[in-house]
Amino acid sequence: MKLRLATLLLSVLVGSILAAPAETKPASAALNALKPSSVVRVNATSQPYDFLRPWSKHSPAQRRAVGAVLPGSRVLTTAEQVANATYLELEKPDSGEKTPASIEVVDYECNLALLKPSQPEFLKPFQPLQLIEPNLGDGLAIWQLENNGTVLPTRALLTTVETGSYPFSNGFLLYRLSSSLQPRDSGFTSPVVKNGALAGMLLRFDSRSQTADVIPAPVIRHFLKAADSKAGYTGFPQAGISTSSLRDPQLRRYAGLTNGTGGIYITRVHPGGPAEKAGVAVGDVLASIAGQAVDQDGNYVHPRYGKISIAHLLSCEQFHGDTIPLTLLRQGKEIPCKITLRHDDPTQWIIPPFVIDTAPRYYILGGLVFQELSRQFLKEWGAEWMLKAPERFLYYDRYQDELFQNDPRQRIVILSNILPSPCTVGYEELSYLVIPSINGVALHSLADIESALANPVDGFHRIQVQGHPGEIIIDATQAAALEPALLRNYDIPALKRL
């Protein structure tokens, strides 16, 4: 049964690979005499919220990119480009004709977004791009646009396929290209093509090493398939494990392995995650996934790309809800099990890794500004946020898995800022404190704050502070009376957003 499933899956995989390069043309044709008939300019105006002043937004910024026209009158670009977009438009490269666009599906983890024009016929004259999976060593072309609308193709060589870091996540597959690209103003992304078919979307380019990282066709294929799912879009699944290399012979013997060289050591099983439900335990050795042998570094042999990380096999090659067989070795004993992979929604983490397109919650009480801790908040400290943001918050964010495992909170409520007012005299130097409860009511998220403030104690709001100074106190009547003055003095549109 297990075996059959694995075979079936493999054949589907092979099938899709074979199906892709249907219409191939010589590589030179891809580079010469191109008509801009498969790409459009995507112009985004982005305006993220200012998490240090959550009632306002940063100044708007323009983000231009070259999007790939796909079948079904849709345009593919990166999620990063359209993050926090206030206005999106598509522009025909040759005529400059524009139309407003909207986001159909966006996934910040795999960094892809599907846009559709407000007028469906806008994309009619275009020839949609098909997907193609290139091989290592293939010559590809990065399609940028010149100002006059002509396509500027740049040769690129596919040198490496491996998993790496994406803007908002980790462990997705990347194509690494070697290319002497001269970036045009189409900054955020450009299609990467082979034989006139879409092989990937440019993620970043390092001009010093002349390497380009590209979101590869397998990730795009998964994204598009999930986007077309009738049940609605679900993100890429995870197994919910952390692993470590098993090269060390002493560690191998400790794990009960007496022979062989493969398998990877499981160092953590995420509580409530798919692996835990499948019966996986810390100290187990993961020997195979869906019939594919796992080596001592956590790689398997991909039929096209060779050795790549099992992160790709577990996440990109499967879909949310898929069940696949695993082989575990527990003290050398083979334990077969089945795992149902699920998407782990990062917006549900106690300290979310990103808050995009969503207005941050806040509540202002007499000048004390309460917010929910998120990595987005920490990133307001700029490029060096990992060194400069409040250290306690950085620590909580980085180690949230181990620190808040059994915590009843959905979010960490913090005192993020103080707008000096008659209420806050003497509190000016307090900030970046964790607030577990107010008036004895535990704050599981900022949504609880109104009910907590509903019952002041003897006319005072008693705000519990984690650590020094233990508690701060606000006069409830005074705070209520100060509201108009706070709105006026600090020009704040509203004292809360919950």
């Binding site: 952390s242 470590s244 290399s245 090269r247 060390d248 012979p249 002493q250 560690l251 013997r253 400790y254 050591y265 160092t267 953590r268 990992m386 250290e391 306690r392 950085l394 620590y395 980085r398 180690y399 898995d401 181990e402 209420c423 806050t424 005299v425 003497g426 509190y427 003897d458 005072f460 008693r462 650590g467 020094h468 100074p469 233990g470 508690e471 701060i472 106190i473 606000i474 006069d475 005074q478």
Partner: protein, 494 residues
């Protein structure tokens, strides 16, 4: 007073210690010459990166002066880690061999003795004032600072009196007197005089790029406390309330706590468990008076006609003494007594002197407890280490782990060739036993076992070291890397 959370950024303000690392000669220029001493130190600094190596030998000079009882008073930092000390008097070419009798690193003071009694012939012991000098009164600083070889005098006025961080330990703050008289490298340990009496010991200042004409002296109150502490032959260090206070200037907070609007009282913001106030004071208590000195809402008291931090009263206490506090708890007045037992034991945030680095070398894996000295020598790029170190006291990590033991290095050898990537991680358990101290860890590693499974903090893989492999590697590693001892569990110098 200990600074509860000393962050790395505090270094911005760190004053430079003025200990001149050059050789010079001097002759007398004032009456004070009969009391002044020039101290030449040969010191050996421990090497926290290679903890089994004896460390680099360096030297320097500083000043000192003769006090009653045929003793020399100077700064601790002038004679720290000394292996050889020689002293010279004005107008006497002879070098005399001196010894450190007592040294207080938390107050940066030391007392030296000279074996050859003839040294003190014809010298005059300086005497101290009993009070803090008034602001704006003139002072004269004596010493052997940079810029020449002879005795130098500079004058100025008392600019300010207040709590300052003492740079020598990096984690202690006491009262200090600021003066605009030039205090430069080499002035350290020299007397500051007013009307022929000592009002302080010059000890630190700011680098010229930071500030001008800001020099500091240790006031007589700190000197007296030191001399009194060592009178029984042992230095017990400063006592500490081990709590943090929060000023009570918010009207609503005052009202809710039941305080009148009279500008008195500070809130107890945190009480360090295991400290002097543990079990006596609680978070939320209001301190109204200490030893009958009313505490103002910003934490100041009036003492000898000066407004000083409340902690100054505790600063003058000795081991075994008490302090009476008037407090308000749940709106009810209460009188409590705080007893000062032992000085605070966890000093990882203070620089250590006269100490040898502690470590364990096991199968080429170097384990060291985290301390200020260790981190300065081998910065660890780990948020976990940074956080546990900086919040060691405030978050009371010492309760669970008095030593935070880090895998600080790997001496490559076949026995550990797959472990090198785990450098910078902290030890959690060995063979299922939670590791709390380096000594306990050494005990567990000395117990016979087939293998030692060292679990690190966090979700990483364990380190598995098989006993037989470690034994086989022992002499090989020691010879290859010139390791003299595989462990040092005590900071005490041999």
């Amino acid at each position: 007073m200990r600074s509860p959370a000393l962050h790395c950024c505090a270094r911005l303000l760190l004053a430079a210690i003025f200990f001149l690392p050059v050789c010079a000669r001097a002759i007398s220029i004032t009456e004070v010459r009969k009391s002044l001493v020039r101290i030449t130190t040969t010191a050996q600094e421990p090497n926290y990166r290679v903890p089994w190596s004896p460390g680099r030998v360096s030297g320097g000079t500083g000043a000192g002066f003769i006090i009653e009882g045929n003793r020399i008073l100077t700064n601790a930092h002038v004679v720290s880690n000394a292996r050889f000390l020689s002293v010279e008097r004005e107008n006497d070419p002879k070098h005399y061999i001196a010894k450190v009798q007592h040294i207080g690193h938390d107050c940066d003071l030391a007392v030296l003795t000279v074996e050859d009694a003839s040294f003190f012939q014809g010298t005059v012991a300086l005497s101290f004032t009993n009070q803090l000098p008034p602001i704006e009164s003139s002072v004269a600083v004596y010493g052997y600072p940079i810029g020449g070889n002879r005795l130098s005098v500079t004058t100025g006025v008392v600019s300010r009196i207040g709590f300052q961080q003492y740079a020598h330990s990096g984690a202690d703050s006491h009262l200090a007197i600021q003066t605009n008289a030039a205090i430069n490298p080499g002035n350290s340990g020299g007397p500051v005089l007013q009307d022929g009496k000592v009002i302080g010991v010059a000890f630190q200042g700011f680098n010229g790029e930071v500030a001008q004409n800001v020099g500091y002296m240790i006031p007589v109150s700190v000197v007296h406390r030191f001399l009194q502490d060592i009178a029984d032959g042992h230095y017990d260090r400063y006592m500490d309330l081990s709590l943090s206070t929060f000023p009570l200037s918010n009207p609503a907070q005052r009202k809710a706590l039941g305080l009148p609007d009279d500008g008195t009282g500070v809130l107890v913001g945190s009480v360090t468990s295991g400290g002097a106030c543990d079990g006596v004071l609680k978070v939320g208590d209001v301190i109204l008076a200490i030893e009958n000195h009313p505490v103002q809402s910003d934490g100041f008291v009036e003492l000898d006609g000066e407004r000083v931090e409340m902690t100054e009263i505790v600063e003058r206490k000795f081991k075994g003494e008490n302090a009476t506090l008037r407090i308000l708890r749940d709106k009810k007045p209460l009188e409590v007594t705080v007893c000062f037992g032992e000085a605070w034991p966890f000093q990882i945030q203070s620089r250590q002197y006269e100490a040898t680095p502690r470590y364990i070398l096991f199968g080429g894996l170097l384990f060291q407890p985290i301390s200020r000295d260790f981190l300065q020598a081998s910065p660890v790029d780990s948020l976990r280490v940074r956080f546990l170190y900086n919040f060691f006291l405030t978050d009371e990590f010492y309760k669970e782990r008095p030593d935070l033991i880090v895998l600080s290095g790997v001496l490559p050898d076949p026995v550990n060739t797959y472990v090198s990537g785990l450098r910078g991680q902290l030890v959690d358990e060995i063979n299922g036993v939670k590791i709390q101290t380096l000594r306990q860890m050494a005990g567990i590693l000395a117990q016979p076992a087939q293998q030692y499974v060292i679990k690190m903090l966090g979700e990483g893989r364990p380190i598995v070291m098989e006993r037989a492999a470690v034994e086989a590697a022992r002499e090989r590693i020691k010879a290859r890397y010139n390791v003299r001892n595989e462990q040092n569990l005590s900071e005490q110098l041999p």
